[in-house]
C-alpha cells in the first residue's frame, strides 16, 4: 500500500523547546538515563550525538540546554501535528510522537500527484503548528519512514531497490522492537546492507533466526512487517465507557485510560489476540467526535494501551480539541495479531504476585468509589521531618521518593519516629517557669527551659522532659523556611503522658507529631 509518512525531525527536542518557550536556534538536547536521546540541529553541529553521556555533551557545548525525556509531553504536543495532517488526508495513524503515516492514494489523487501532496503536507504542518517536517512516500510503512528521513519519494514497486543500499542499522527504529543484537550479528556475518539481508531466502532466515528476525527480513525486502492475512478483529472486542461525570481533567483521564486498557487487553487475551493498531475515539458533551489511530510495531501490553489512551486524552484536553468534557470513550482494536508474544504473566509469580494482584484489584475498586486520588502507597525518601520523608503516591503511579534517602540529612530526627504525624501543625504555647514564652535564639538555643506546654488552647500541662533543639534551617536562601528548630517534649505525668514533637518557626510553636 502506498504510504506517506510525515516525519518531524528531533521531535522530543522540538516538543521540549516549544513547551519551554525557547527558540530552535539554541543548542538543545533531550536526555534519558543520562544519555542523549535527541538533539537539535544546532547541537549536532557542535558535535552532540545520540547516546552521548550528558556530561560529555555539556563539555562539548557548554551552553547546551538539557531537557528530561518526557513521552507524555512529546505525545501531547504532537496531537497538533496529527490534527494538521488530518485536515488534508484521511486515515491518519500516529506511529510514535514525531511520525504519522497516511495512505498516500487519497491526497495524491486530490492534489494531482504525490509530490504536490507532499509539498502541501509540509506547508500545512509548518503553517498550522510551526514545525519543520519531511515527507516520504513509498510502498509500506518501513520504506516510507526511511524515505521520510531522506525526504524522497520512492516510485511504486521500487521500495526494495530503495532499501537495498541502506545499512542494516535502519532495522532498529525508535519505538520499535530492540534489534541491536540482530544487527550486530548480521554485520558480523558480512550482511551490511538491507539488500544483502534481503538476498537470503526467507526459509533460511526462519531456520536460523527468531520470529523478530523474520519480520525484520520482510521489512528489508520492502514488504509489510506481517503478512497481509491479518485477522479481522471480531466486532465485539471494541469497548466503550460512558463517563459520568464527563472527564475534563488529565488525571481523571489517566485513571479512565487505565481501567479501559485493562478491559480491552483482557478481552483480546481471551481470544488469544493482541492489538497492533489501536483506535481511540471520544465524544464530548457537545457531541463532538474525536478519533485517532495509534500504530505500534509491537503488540500492545495493558500499560502500552493505557499510555497511548492517556497521551491522546492529554493531547485533546490540553490543546482544546473538545469544547466540553469527554462523555463517551471507546477503544477499537483496528488490527490484531496472535497474542503469543504477550504471555508475560506465566513466570512472574513468586507467591506474592497473587496477593499483590488481589490487593491491586481492591484498590482499583476503591478508586472507582472515591476517585483516582484516594488510595495511596507510601514511599520513604530523604528529609529531616517525619512528614517530609514520606510521599504518598496514588495507586497506579510510579513509586519514586520525593528526595534521595541516601543523602546525608544533618538534623534528621533520631529513631524511633512518631506514630502520628499531623498533616496540619497544631498551635501550642510553650512557657518557662516564670510564665514567659520560650523562644529560639538566632544561635538555635532556647531562651529558657520549657515548664508548661498547652496544646491547641487546652490547659497547659507540665513538661517532665525535653530534648533539643534540633536546628533545621532549610531553604533559607529561598525565604520559604518551614521551621527553624524542633524539640521533643514529654508532657503530663504517668499514666496520662504524651510525647510530642514541637517545631519553632517565626516566633511561634506548633506540634508536628505525636509519639502515640
Amino acid at each position: 500500500m502506498r504510504t506517506a509518512v510525515i516525519w518531524c525531525p528531533d521531535w522530543p527536542v522540538v516538543a521540549a523547546a516549544s513547551s519551554a518557550g525557547l527558540p530552535v536556534t539554541i543548542p538543545m538536547a533531550v536526555v534519558a538515563a543520562n544519555r542523549v536521546v535527541a538533539s537539535s540541529a544546532v547541537a549536532r553541529a557542535e558535535g552532540i550525538r545520540r547516546g552521548m553521556r550528558r556530561r560529555e555533551a555539556q563539555g562539548r557545548c557548554p551552553e547546551l540546554v538539557v531537557f528530561d525525556d518526557d513521552p507524555v509531553r512529546d505525545a501531547r504536543l504532537f496531537e497538533a501535528v496529527a490534527a494538521a495532517v488530518e485536515e488534508l488526508a484521511v486515515g491518519v495513524e500516529i506511529v510514535r510522537p514525531g511520525l504519522v503515516a497516511v495512505p498516500a492514494r487519497g491526497p495524491a489523487g486530490y492534489f494531482g500527484g504525490e509530490e504536490a501532496a507532499a509539498e502541501r503536507l509540509i506547508d500545512q504542518v509548518a503553517d498550522r503548528v510551526g514545525v519543520e517536517c519531511q515527507v516520504g512516500v513509498a510502498d509500506g510503512l518501513f520504506a516510507a519512514t526511511l524515505a521520510a528521513h531522506r525526504g524522497v519519494l520512492v516510485e511504486p514497486g521500487a521500495s526494495a531497490g530503495f532499501l537495498a543500499p541502506l545499512a542494516v542499522n535502519e532495522l532498529a527504529q525508535p519505538g520499535g522492537p530492540e534489534r541491536t543484537e540482530l544487527i550486530d550479528l548480521l554485520r558480523r556475518l558480512g550482511l551490511r546492507t538491507l539488500g544483502a539481508f534481503a538476498g537470503i531466502t526467507e526459509r533460511d532466515v526462519a531456520t536460523r533466526f527468531d520470529a523478530d528476525a523474520i519480520r525484520a527480513h520482510r521489512l528489508a525486502r520492502g514488504l509489510d512487517e506481517r503478512p497481509p492475512s491479518r485477522r479481522r478483529p471480531p466486532p465485539d472486542l471494541a469497548i466503550s465507557e460512558e463517563l459520568d461525570p464527563p472527564v475534563d481533567r488529565v488525571d481523571a483521564a489517566a485513571f479512565v485510560a487505565k481501567s479501559l486498557a485493562d478491559r480491552l487487553h483482557a478481552g483480546l487475551a481471551a481470544h488469544g489476540l493482541a492489538c497492533t493498531r489501536l483506535g481511540i475515539y471520544a465524544r464530548s458533551e457537545r457531541e463532538e467526535e474525536l478519533g485517532r489511530v495509534w500504530r505500534c510495531a509491537e503488540p500492545l501490553t495493558p500499560n502500552g494501551i493505557a499510555d497511548r489512551v492517556r497521551w491522546q486524552l492529554d493531547g485533546w484536553l490540553r490543546t482544546g480539541g473538545p469544547t466540553a468534557g469527554i462523555r463517551t470513550l471507546w477503544l477499537e482494536p483496528e488490527e490484531v495479531v496472535e497474542g503469543k508474544a504477550l504471555q508475560l504473566d506465566l513466570w512472574r509469580g513468586e507467591g506474592h504476585a497473587e496477593a499483590g494482584e488481589k490487593a491491586g484489584r481492591a484498590m482499583v475498586r476503591v478508586q472507582g468509589l472515591l476517585g483516582p486520588e484516594s488510595v495511596y502507597t507510601p514511599v520513604l525518601g530523604g528529609g529531616r521531618d517525619p512528614a517530609e520523608r514520606v510521599r504518598l503516591v496514588p495507586w497506579g503511579e510510579e513509586l519514586t521518593p520525593a528526595a534521595d534517602p541516601d543523602l546525608p540529612w544533618p538534623g534528621q530526627l533520631p529513631a524511633p519516629s512518631p506514630a502520628v504525624v499531623f498533616p496540619d501543625p497544631v498551635p501550642v504555647t510553650v512557657v518557662d517557669k516564670t510564665g514567659e514564652p520560650v523562644r529560639v535564639t538566632d544561635r538555635d538555643l532556647l531562651t529558657a527551659d520549657p515548664a508548661t506546654v498547652g496544646v491547641n488552647g487546652a490547659p497547659p500541662r507540665p513538661v517532665t522532659g525535653w530534648a533539643g533543639p534540633w536546628p533545621a534551617n532549610e531553604r533559607w536562601w529561598a525565604k520559604e523556611t518551614r521551621c527553624q528548630a524542633r524539640i521533643q517534649v514529654l508532657i503530663g505525668t504517668e499514666p496520662a503522658q504524651a510525647a510530642l514533637l514541637l517545631a519553632y518557626h517565626e516566633g511561634a510553636w506548633t506540634a508536628h507529631a505525636h509519639y502515640d
Partner: protein
Amino acid sequence: MSGSAVTRAASLMSGAMPDGVGVASGLTLTSVDRERVLPVSQALAGLFPWGGLRRGSTVAVRGSVTVLLALLAEATASGSWAGVVGMPRLGVVAAAELGVAVSRLALVPRPGPDLPAVAGALLDGMDIVVIAAAGRLQESHARRLSARARHRGAVLVPFGPWPGADLELTHVRSHWAGLAKGYGHFHSRELTIAARGRGSAARPTTATVFVSRDGMAATPTPLPSDGVWPPETGPVPVEPSMVENVTRLRA
C-alpha cells in the same frame, strides 16, 4: 496425626511466649488453624490466644497507634497486604521502623461517608484492614464489616472501640527513656498492653514490650553510645546554594 499437630503447635507457641503469659484456652490449635493465622511480632504473640492474627477475626486496638503499626509488621513483611482506612495522620516512617513493609500498605486517608463501602472493598482483597472510624460508623455497619472479614478470611483491625471485637488490645501505660532536661532524645519506650476478648481470649493478659529504633522487642535495648545530644552527626554536605551561586556567576 492431629495429636502431633497439636504438640508442634504448642512447642512453637511456648518459644514465643514471655513468662507469665499462656495460651488462654490451652491446646486448641490445629495445623489448619496455624495456616489461618497471620504472624505477629514475637513480643506481641503472647497476647493472642492463637499466637497471631487469626484470619476472619476482628482485633480492636485502643490507645496507641504504635501498637497498631506493630501488629502489621510481621504480616506485611511476609507478603500480606494491609489497607488503612481513615487515618490521615499515620506516621509511615514509624511504621517502617517497626518493621512494616510500607510498599504493601494501601492508605485511604479520607474515605468520607463511603467508609463502610471502602473498608468492605479492601476486605475483599487484603489480608489486614485497619479502620479508624471513631463515632463515624453505625453499629450495624460495624457488625457487617466484622462478618465480611470472617467470610473473606481477612483480619479487621479497628482503631478504637468496636462492638463484638474478638480481641481488644488496650494501651495501658508508656514509659519513655532517653529524654532528660534538655539533652538526649526519645530512645526507647516501654509499653504495657492489655488484651481481653471473647471465647478463647476471655482471660485478660498483659504484655510489656519495648520500642526502640530497632523496632519492637520483648526485652529492653541498652542505651547506645549516640544516645546523647546531638543525636547523629554526619559529614557536612555542600549547601546546594553554593553550587547555584557558582553557576549563576559563570552564566
